[in-house]
Symmetry: C2
Subunit: 209 residues, 2 copies
């Protein structure tokens, strides 16, 4: 196996943390997004969506997004479980992973990609050009603030996002919080439950991945 | 178990088709989105995100989105498998499900929610008001057309979205194609592979769900 990665980007970091939590060691190939290397013809053949992470299996099969990669790795190495053990745990983790990605990660991405100079005409990932829409900067920032409040409410009720165990949903949320700093958005002082949780998950060795 | 549902909406239809393919029979409670019943205080207690589908388990646990519900039902009733059997199949189906939802379903939703009169100030699902952004109508329509072309390319290579078996990714894509008709977007005549696939999946009894 090998992982197409870029150390400076939030999206492949979700996979790197997942791999670290599994205790696996997968060789990486760095794709320099800062130099727009994802648009090089050679990489476009690896992944026509022109994004990282991509996991290439030994038979040449390529998994081209985080959902595919983490689902595969969990099935291959079930322990420690990051996507749940019982049907109810699996359902709740999938639910929270979806929620955190869509209401958190995507909200930050919306503000960032519509603002950053490097994404002019690439407001959406992929090969097709889409112009930045200034109104989405503010919408993304508003959604991010709503997300912080929601997160604090969730974590007032339990230790981790999806229950009493660390899971994929915690990984996505940790990466979201750190990604939000790029837009100068941080958890408010009043979000004591979210801050308690952040300190705990950020102290795990995997968070350095 | 019971499923909070609305027969007129695309989102819960993904779950209804999934349930039908499993051969299960789950009682439903209709939440009339046309009458904005998802914003009733009683339903806001069932799901603070104010969306359907919601699956309520016998112990009172509620799964509040499609990802959570289908992951739970698959773990509870593994056959017929709709999320894969082997690690590689599971990874590929998760990858394609994510891709089809994000590049297809979300694209149609973007054009629809930013245009429809019923969604003024509700351009995003949930309790928080977000204004419609007219530029997103055109962007969503452009993305939908790109998606149709992409879909045809994918289905030129294999029978179903994620390989040689019907899966969750086919369900999400079928619902996306039908949802796109609300915006008068249909598969082009030239998309012969996508049309062959559509006719096949639409002929399954589950498509009537």
């Amino acid at each position: 196996m090998k992982l197409y990665d870029y150390e400076g980007a939030p999206s492949p970091r979700r996979v790197r943390i997942f791999v670290a939590e599994k205790g696996m060691d997968i060789p990486t190939v760095q794709v320099d997004l800062a130099a727009k290397s994802q648009h090089d013809p050679d990489f476009a053949k690896v992944n026509p969506h022109r994004t990282v992470p991509v996991l290439e299996l030994d038979d040449g099969t390529r998994l081209t997004n985080t959902a595919g990669i983490c689902t595969y790795l969990e099935a291959l190495h079930p322990e420690p479980a990051l996507l749940g053990r019982t049907p109810e745990e699996k359902g709740l983790i999938a639910q929270w992973e979806w929620r955190m990605e869509n209401d958190g990660y995507m909200a930050v991405g919306e503000s960032f990609r519509n603002k950053a100079k490097g994404f002019v005409n690439h407001a959406l990932p992929g090969p097709v050009e889409y112009a930045q829409i200034p109104e989405l900067i503010d919408r993304g920032l508003r959604r991010t603030q709503q997300f912080f409040q929601f997160l604090d409410d969730v974590l007032a009720e339990r230790e981790f996002i999806a229950g009493d165990r660390y899971s994929m949903a915690d990984i996505t949320t940790l990466v979201t919080i750190d990604f939000a700093k790029w837009m100068k958005q941080t958890l408010p002082e009043s979000a004591v439950h979210a801050r308690r949780w952040y300190d705990a998950v950020n102290a795990r060795p995997s968070a350095r991945a």
